[in-house]
Subunit: 297 residues, 6 copies
Amino acid sequence: MSDGRLLYLNENSRKFAGFNKEKSPFVIIGIPMDITSSYRPGSRFAPSSIRESAQYIEFYSIRNDVDMGEIGFNDVGDIILHPSNVEENLSRISSVISYFQESGKITISIGGEHTITAGIIKGTKREGLCLVSFDAHLDLRDEYMGYRYDHACVMRRISEYGVKIIEVGTRAVSKEEIEYAKQKGILFFTPQQIRLLGVKETARRIITSTQECKSLYISVDMDGIDPAYAPGVATPEPDGLDPTNLLDIINLIADKRVIGFDIVEVSPSYDTSGITSVLASRIILETAATVYKARSL
Amino acid sequence: MSDGRLLYLNENSRKFAGFNKEKSPFVIIGIPMDITSSYRPGSRFAPSSIRESAQYIEFYSIRNDVDMGEIGFNDVGDIILHPSNVEENLSRISSVISYFQESGKITISIGGEHTITAGIIKGTKREGLCLVSFDAHLDLRDEYMGYRYDHACVMRRISEYGVKIIEVGTRAVSKEEIEYAKQKGILFFTPQQIRLLGVKETARRIITSTQECKSLYISVDMDGIDPAYAPGVATPEPDGLDPTNLLDIINLIADKRVIGFDIVEVSPSYDTSGITSVLASRIILETAATVYKARSL
Amino acid sequence: MSDGRLLYLNENSRKFAGFNKEKSPFVIIGIPMDITSSYRPGSRFAPSSIRESAQYIEFYSIRNDVDMGEIGFNDVGDIILHPSNVEENLSRISSVISYFQESGKITISIGGEHTITAGIIKGTKREGLCLVSFDAHLDLRDEYMGYRYDHACVMRRISEYGVKIIEVGTRAVSKEEIEYAKQKGILFFTPQQIRLLGVKETARRIITSTQECKSLYISVDMDGIDPAYAPGVATPEPDGLDPTNLLDIINLIADKRVIGFDIVEVSPSYDTSGITSVLASRIILETAATVYKARSL
Amino acid sequence: MSDGRLLYLNENSRKFAGFNKEKSPFVIIGIPMDITSSYRPGSRFAPSSIRESAQYIEFYSIRNDVDMGEIGFNDVGDIILHPSNVEENLSRISSVISYFQESGKITISIGGEHTITAGIIKGTKREGLCLVSFDAHLDLRDEYMGYRYDHACVMRRISEYGVKIIEVGTRAVSKEEIEYAKQKGILFFTPQQIRLLGVKETARRIITSTQECKSLYISVDMDGIDPAYAPGVATPEPDGLDPTNLLDIINLIADKRVIGFDIVEVSPSYDTSGITSVLASRIILETAATVYKARSL
Amino acid sequence: MSDGRLLYLNENSRKFAGFNKEKSPFVIIGIPMDITSSYRPGSRFAPSSIRESAQYIEFYSIRNDVDMGEIGFNDVGDIILHPSNVEENLSRISSVISYFQESGKITISIGGEHTITAGIIKGTKREGLCLVSFDAHLDLRDEYMGYRYDHACVMRRISEYGVKIIEVGTRAVSKEEIEYAKQKGILFFTPQQIRLLGVKETARRIITSTQECKSLYISVDMDGIDPAYAPGVATPEPDGLDPTNLLDIINLIADKRVIGFDIVEVSPSYDTSGITSVLASRIILETAATVYKARSL
Amino acid sequence: MSDGRLLYLNENSRKFAGFNKEKSPFVIIGIPMDITSSYRPGSRFAPSSIRESAQYIEFYSIRNDVDMGEIGFNDVGDIILHPSNVEENLSRISSVISYFQESGKITISIGGEHTITAGIIKGTKREGLCLVSFDAHLDLRDEYMGYRYDHACVMRRISEYGVKIIEVGTRAVSKEEIEYAKQKGILFFTPQQIRLLGVKETARRIITSTQECKSLYISVDMDGIDPAYAPGVATPEPDGLDPTNLLDIINLIADKRVIGFDIVEVSPSYDTSGITSVLASRIILETAATVYKARSL
Ligand SMILES: [Mn+2]
Ligand SMILES: [Mn+2]
Ligand SMILES: [Mn+2]
Ligand SMILES: [Mn+2]
Ligand SMILES: [Mn+2]
Ligand SMILES: [Mn+2]
Ligand SMILES: [Mn+2]
Ligand SMILES: [Mn+2]
Ligand SMILES: [Mn+2]
Ligand SMILES: [Mn+2]
Ligand SMILES: [Mn+2]
Ligand SMILES: [Mn+2]
């Protein structure tokens, strides 16, 4: 892999469940950027921690009747990052992602802070692109403490790139973000609404809203899930999604248009029983299985 | 603040989310009493831990469409406590509470062990007062190991003061407590009953039962919540309430009669991922927002 | 107790909640075998940890209106185990169990890894015996890494003994295990199915399926429960049972035919807030209360 | 053991390394009193934690060439304590201690907070009694926060009983305590002095100072040791003794006059690697071996 | 305090041991910058953690016979920092420091990462300034991963400002750093050399080397100390200083020329028993006491 | 690498500090065997944990003036192990070791429990082989709980192979082991003796005792070191070696005859601050640097 865009790719990391299957349609990329998190740092350790926990899960998806153990993953390693320059890092991420997406791969990015999604989208063909983000927060601030590339601003930046955004799990917001969302027509679902609507109706509304999209990207900020299930995150926020609902929604909305997804904001130092990393592995597995099945049909 | 009743108030503590808004209707008081807990001590650290976690939450309440960031809180500090004399401490608590309630403030007390609620109620005008307590336990023992001011006896003492008590989340009880509750007409709801009745019917029954009350007090023993969501408590008890239901019930029953509430029994040493303190902060925020809205109507 | 089968029983352990009631119908046996766990070891500490947590729970079962504090338990201590010879250990377990079951006792075994259940069943009269296992895994592999007495093979071994098996909570499986289960008519319920069917219908199907059984054995691999509620297990697996459902199902299916049950795979080192051990204590208490009540009718 | 003084003795606890040897000259008593600790609570769990860690150490003392595994210990259980009444508890402790000392036993008390030593001394024949205390603190305050039976006052109380006191490891003191010590002729050694004098000269001075004593009591507040070696204590204080020096000093000063000793202030919740409890076990073992050998000569 | 240089000072933090004594010669400033740490993040929490641990230590210095409880500290709060712009932050730090040093105060800065020392020195009158740094590392790299303001480069930057540097505790270095140190005449002492020379001779050499200095600054990177005593640091490095030696050296070299000092690189998330924060508090106390005494003579 | 002896070598593990230098004289092999540990399990995670911590240390050895960053290591991966069959595993270890030693490599084995050393020695040419073991225990039992391949028996087995053994750090022993050692002429040094003799004299005696040896093997059971420095071990034992002395002794005794060494008994679950793994990395680095330098002369 000698393309110039891979200059900052370090292939020597631990592999996701030991997988190194070059022919797999799924490429795994670790992006341990952990600079702007305001509360609990440590997402830099998430790629390593999630890869390790993946060693102990079963790779057969009952939900999809797909054996991901056979399909495998191509874990290409971690992106090497600048210690403090976020914009430089977004540019490195963008290069690596564009390389793999042009190679026809579905990219699975393991953060790192949510900000990385801006870099991923920069590296993605954005015409007709829609993004579904699971998150407790809207991340729609224009700036945070004077800075426009904070994790609290990432969906604002992506929205400015012209990507259509739908947010699921919303519950910790500022008034300004809600107003921006309404003004820009950004659909969001609070956990309370999802409990009222049910998983199927929620999924139906997302499907309707993404009907025109040419490609889909899914971003899973693990704080979208309730802290009981995902305690090891940078910014835990009570009253969240339960993992079953998240997996069910992804199962219903992900189809062959999905060009990539990410799992961000896991902070292993606060994941004292390791259950957040295991859950992240399981979400990767089930999302990949759903996409694989959708593409096979 | 030179009233004699504030002799034991130490104003120099960390502030709840940095709030120090003197004009706020909400006064926050730390009461780190941690003497009689029989199992896992450490509730003495809860005021500090909950105040810190509050720094990282959003202060806008979607449930109530109220921005508590604007209304703010007046964090007046911690009560200085005697190392072992519970009755002396209840008297100190009573003085501070009576001062602030007479000043027209809604007091938010952060425990410490549940015993503090006896001191709070002592400092409260009790005519027509009703108390709704969320708790895994009834706390209706006459004495515990020969002692009448243990946290396992607090609702018995308050009941003896003539306050009407309703308990929510009950599941770890002795036979004697159930008999006492039945004999005294103390209504209680087990999580199983709440699942059967639903949140709305549960709330309706509590509302009916408190119709005659002139003022309301809410006590949240965090062990009322299931340990998955609130692991950092002195006495975890499985098969409990989920936070959404607790927040929904408070949202339905709290009205302008609420003169104060407390959050007790958080034990930060056992809250290894910090999620119990964050949840306590969120309960404070949502309860205050509900009360604020009710008073504004 | 001088029967030769008790040669390897060490009576000097800590007692379950301090109970030592010889006349109780319930015998508690610690079996700290912790050899084949592939992921997170430490189930050797579970008997001690669960016994300690039991000191702090209330022994009155609201579900059954039975006061287990009065009935009590006869905690006979731990089985002394060989450091690495699993088959030798299964034989020791078998001896101890057969002694107490022949004495007419209901045995409550606290593991240790799931493999111990093979030893228990070896020591049990197997004619007409049926086993209901709560587990994330099917444990139906023929061998694991070349070994036939691994915890991942335990239900396969027991199935080979001619015992009818029903599994509840299944979600992490290999394709081979599913095929074996189907071929042998082993009924299993995924959490998704249980959510669809509801607890009552699930229980009804288990009851139907066990109608012909002469005796019942219940095995609770704590990883059957969702990691939010039981983080301290050897192999956490997301998207699991919630404890309320598990307790409700046991409450519906356990009757006077139950001759014993076990709690296995708790790994206290990963139970950072101690909630898994408390839950295990509560499951022991409620299951015993249900069985006691069934036998009293 | 039906003496009235044993009313509050609960024999059903876990045993120290499983020992229950009635003929041993050494009696072990757990005293889990944990009421007045101002900083990090949890010494209530120390008797259980130290007893468990003792299961894994070797019982042969190289220092003394004595096999304590042969001599054994008679672990008689824990004293049952009042939840908040310190003085009542000191009286219970006093009764139990006086019973065993009158029976000619050497009592090894495992705290709990340092305050228990006042109860132990109350139960001891005090004529000609001298006490050597290893502690970072002098514990010579007259009162602490208005209370005279706080752990910070224990040596003051014992000094008032007329017992001669020598303190070793002193480094965290108030000016008043130093003045009191000087005025009353209470000898104390800071770690700096011990480094200058050397272990042998320090021991020589203690021996000279205790020459007239008829009986000796040794109290080991684990915070006397440096927090690197004993992190799990209620009040860690840097720049302390290393365990080798403490063991060497005890080895030199303990002789046949020793009528008992205690280990206090271990707080297992803060002993994250368990090394403080193991060290406490080792100190118990070595001190007992030294005393045993001295009595055998 | 309305000087423009205090724009980014947030006065509302928790106070060091509750101290707020405006007349004290010692100003405490929290600088929670935590951006470039390559290994274990979390130094952002150190100011809060160290301030809390200070509540529980005694303020009398036996080493200096000075009661710091009487002299007190003026804790002015934390500097508000940009999420990722290190240079902007160094400029904010520089402003605050210059204000307090011009006011004649001795500044005690609590980091945050070591990089903050560059900001502090920028805000300091540098003519004749010498800096003594306790550190496992030389921090003399020209750049780290392409960045010149990394914590691994801080002494290189300060050296470029023309400040004379002496390093103590050196043991984890690159060859380039050693060569740079030799070339620039930067004196450094490895722990091995200090063991050979002894504390007094080491101090004598430092005193000789700083004889011409007009003012002194002391920087304590807590990783200079051995990880046994200071486990909670960003980059633990074995074979280090013991705290007694560090305190003794500071005691010998600090005199009335000291214009400030800092404690950096504490990472509370890894300080599982809290002993690193307590040690940091004790170093602050003893260093201040030494400086106070030197200025009083 | 297609030699049959490498059948059980899994090359896909994380690399030691990312090193994969095939030409290095040093081969690193992970041997995560964790079956017979009687106390605190988890050494199975040590190879992964030590490799990760190595990423953050400097590779220049001041002690030896050797830059191991240039020389590098060839990390060949982990040995795949049977879940419970110790003897089978020793045979797999023996095969892999014999392959690399025949290839002229110096093998650095990262355990796993101490038992692995028996497998390593089985794979080593034993004529004239001497082994220096750093350990709190003698590991000279004939059997432990009926089993001859327990970690408490490993030096007994190796002694029976005819290898000369010297033990350093001995302090937790049974009387039988001491007698066996004396009878077989196995030299051992307690930490007390080493403090008396000094490091140089201790080393001199070891050198004298190994003068006739044709090749040397060094085994570092991390519990040889004091638990303050190495808390994360299976069996912590107070009053141990400090790491400086251990590194100094290795530095003095290791010469060009060294054909391999191992680091065993690290238990990362108990290494809450990670300092044990960092220390293990540093010991590997310094030992390799010493051997490299000795071979270069
Ligand atoms: Mn986000
Ligand atoms: Mn978020
Ligand atoms: Mn309560
Ligand atoms: Mn309660
Ligand atoms: Mn199982
Ligand atoms: Mn399982
Ligand atoms: Mn003390
Ligand atoms: Mn003390
Ligand atoms: Mn530094
Ligand atoms: Mn450093
Ligand atoms: Mn060993
Ligand atoms: Mn050992």
